[in-house]
């Protein structure tokens, strides 16, 4: 059992990466475009970061858009004012969101359940207002413009991710691999096991001597770093950072992606992000009432698909 289980896991993993690696080739014939794939990957990272907390630590952050947006503004401002370097922009954006998450996280981690969600939402909105009001720096309502992603300079040669959409897709896929690798590494580490222990039975974890608050804080901070990285990448897609990317409704989108895909699964949120992005893209092209449909999707997922797509598949297999 264990051997075949392992083999199947490897096969699934191989299939996922094959699909992702070949996306620029199979997407256009199906009516997609490469930039759509790039968006799925980036929002997939964000949804997986939310799920890192929700699915694996058992705490719901409804304010991750703030750190996502901080990553975006961090990257944009770096490119605009500091230096024309894509890697530097990504690093600065990630750090900005991660540090903000670490500081606020210290205030948030003592809350649980629905109150944790409430406090994360409320704190997340602070950054929305800052981005909105500080127009001299952030461009206010219009968003931050006037920067563009730069070709990657690797010493001897450079990769033109700035104008070639396909190269940029592969660059984002590379980043995606880094982040998912890091997440998987953390989740498999002893620390990751304590996250699961906290999710399953917090009191027991506490009695076993796990400093629960500190571990949730670490998980929260890591998750904010990941989501800020996604935000930084997102700013590079359109060379634009949008204040609405910091709004709590964006957080809601991340959470629904995670839930729809399957929040107890590692890859579920990526699937959720794919479904969400494609659906949104399609709906907004055919109807002006797409908001209702997205809202309806929330309701239907909650009522009929609380385990998400992958969760249902897994349940079917176990039965």
């Amino acid at each position: 059992m264990s051997k075949s289980h392992h083999a199947r896991k490897l096969m699934v993993l191989g299939a996922i990466w094959a699909v992702l690696l070949l996306a620029p080739y199979w997407m256009p014939p199906l009516g997609g475009y490469t930039a759509l794939g790039t968006r799925v990957l980036v929002l997939g990272i964000a949804a997986m970061s939310v799920n890192f907390l929700l699915g694996f630590t058992g705490v719901l952050s409804f304010g991750h858009a703030a750190y996502f947006g901080l990553g975006a503004y961090g990257a944009g401002l770096t490119l605009k004012f500091l230096a024309a370097s894509t890697p530097l922009a990504l690093i600065c954006g990630t750090l900005l969101g991660g540090i903000a998450g670490a500081v606020l996280g210290a205030l948030i981690v003592r809350r649980r359940g629905v109150y944790f969600a409430m406090v994360t939402i409320a704190f997340g909105q602070v950054f929305y207002y800052i981005a909105f009001q500080w127009s001299s720096l952030t461009g206010g309502d219009d968003g931050l413009r006037g920067f563009s992603r730069q070709p990657l300079d690797l010493g001897r040669f450079s990769i033109d991710i700035a104008s070639n959409a396909q190269y940029f897709y592969y660059f984002v896929l590379f980043c995606f691999a880094l982040v998912t690798g890091a997440m998987a590494f953390v989740l498999r580490s002893p620390f990751g096991r304590t996250m699961l222990a906290i999710r399953e039975n917090e009191r027991r974890a506490r009695f076993l001597g796990i400093p629960v608050e500190r571990h949730i804080w670490i998980a929260f901070t890591l998750s904010c770093l990941f989501v800020a990285f996604a935000g930084a990448l997102y700013a590079l897609i359109n060379n634009f950072a949008d204040p609405r990317g910091l709004h709590y409704s964006q957080s809601g989108d991340f959470v629904i992606m995670a839930v729809m895909g399957g929040m107890r699964t590692f890859w579920g949120p990526l699937l959720g992000a794919a479904v969400f992005v494609v659906l949104q893209d399609y709906l907004s092209s055919i109807t002006i009432n797409w908001m209702s449909f997205i809202g309806l999707m929330f309701v239907l997922v909650v009522l009929f698909f609380p385990r998400g797509l992958l969760g249902v598949i897994r349940l079917g297999r176990a039965a």
Binding site: A117, V119, I294
Partner: protein, 289 residues
């Protein structure tokens, strides 16, 4: 300067009173159903638009009473059909469901009444300023505060002296025991939810007279209500009342000195409260964990 300050403090109190009305409804639902009702803003907007639609038939005063009742009826239906199946499950689901509902409400309002804002007429005698000195206090604003005070007063009377109210308060503390004593908890939650939504509908009608109507107005009023609850202390309605007034005044006063930060100050206050007194000003120990 002092008049400017007075103006903004009054303004803050009026807005704060408004947050209180929203936040009390949210708080009631949160305490008993453990659901953060994201659709609360949607109910507010629905209340406002319903009032707008029925005013020609029942007049301003009729709408003031009927619109919140209709909204409460919608709320009752929503609770029965959509929210009831979620009790006993992770609170995440209630949050997500009402979040989706908020989208549907906003879009639905736009679909029925149009994306354009609607002006709302109020009785002429309420539109007058009180006096030349107090030019910034129109009769309507005073009327709003009085209405809020009456509603809050009635709510507290309901909670303290009626059987329903006593059960709601008991359920907030220990729902299991309440159920064991033979009280129909499902019914209790439904009624409680409707009372909360009634308050949202009333806020909507009052807001319509002051701000006019727009499909998006609910979302903007929702966040301050959250903060009012957190600052005041989860589980304490008196705390919510205090929290709402406090952030209203703080935001009003900040508007004098540093207008850009008038929203942000509420969040700063929340951070300070969470840092110094994590359970909120009047919160019970342990309610928020």
């Amino acid at each position: 300067m002092s008049q400017l300050l007075l103006f903004n403090v009054t303004n803050g109190l009026i807005i704060g009173a408004f947050y209180v009305l929203m936040a009390l409804g949210l708080s009631l639902i949160l305490n008993l159903s453990n659901v953060i009702n994201f659709a609360h803003g949607g109910f507010l907007v629905a209340g406002g638009y319903i009032a707008y639609t029925i005013t020609p038939y029942v007049g301003f005063w009729g709408a003031l009473l009927v619109a919140p009742l209709v909204t409460a009826a919608i709320g009752l239906a929503v609770e029965r059909v959509l929210i009831r199946p979620l009790y006993g499950r992770d609170p995440l689901y209630g949050l997500l469901l009402t979040f989706g509902l908020a989208f549907i409400f906003e879009d639905g309002t736009r679909f029925i009444w149009g994306a354009q804002g609607k002006p709302v007429t109020i009785p002429a005698f309420l539109a007058q300023p009180l006096s030349d000195e107090l030019f910034f206090i129109t009769g309507y604003r005073l009327f709003m505060v009085v209405m809020v005070a009456v509603a809050v007063g009635l709510l507290f009377v309901l909670l303290r002296y009626t059987r329903l109210g006593i059960r709601i308060r008991a359920g907030t503390l220990d729902l299991e025991t309440v159920a064991a004593l033979g009280i129909n908890v499902g019914m209790l939650r439904s009624l409680n939810f409707s009372v909360g939504v009634f308050l949202a509908g009333l806020s909507g009608v009052l807001a319509a007279g002051q701000l006019g109507l727009e499909p998006t107005m609910g979302a903007g009023l929702l966040m301050p209500s959250f903060i009012a609850i957190i600052v005041g202390g989860v589980g304490s309605l008196l705390g919510t009342l205090l929290g709402g007034l406090l952030i209203g005044v703080a935001s009003g006063v900040t508007a004098v000195f540093f207008p850009q930060a008038s929203e942000a100050i509420m969040y700063v206050m929340m951070a300070v409260v969470l840092l110094i007194r994590p359970r909120g000003l009047l919160g019970e120990e342990g309610m928020m964990t």
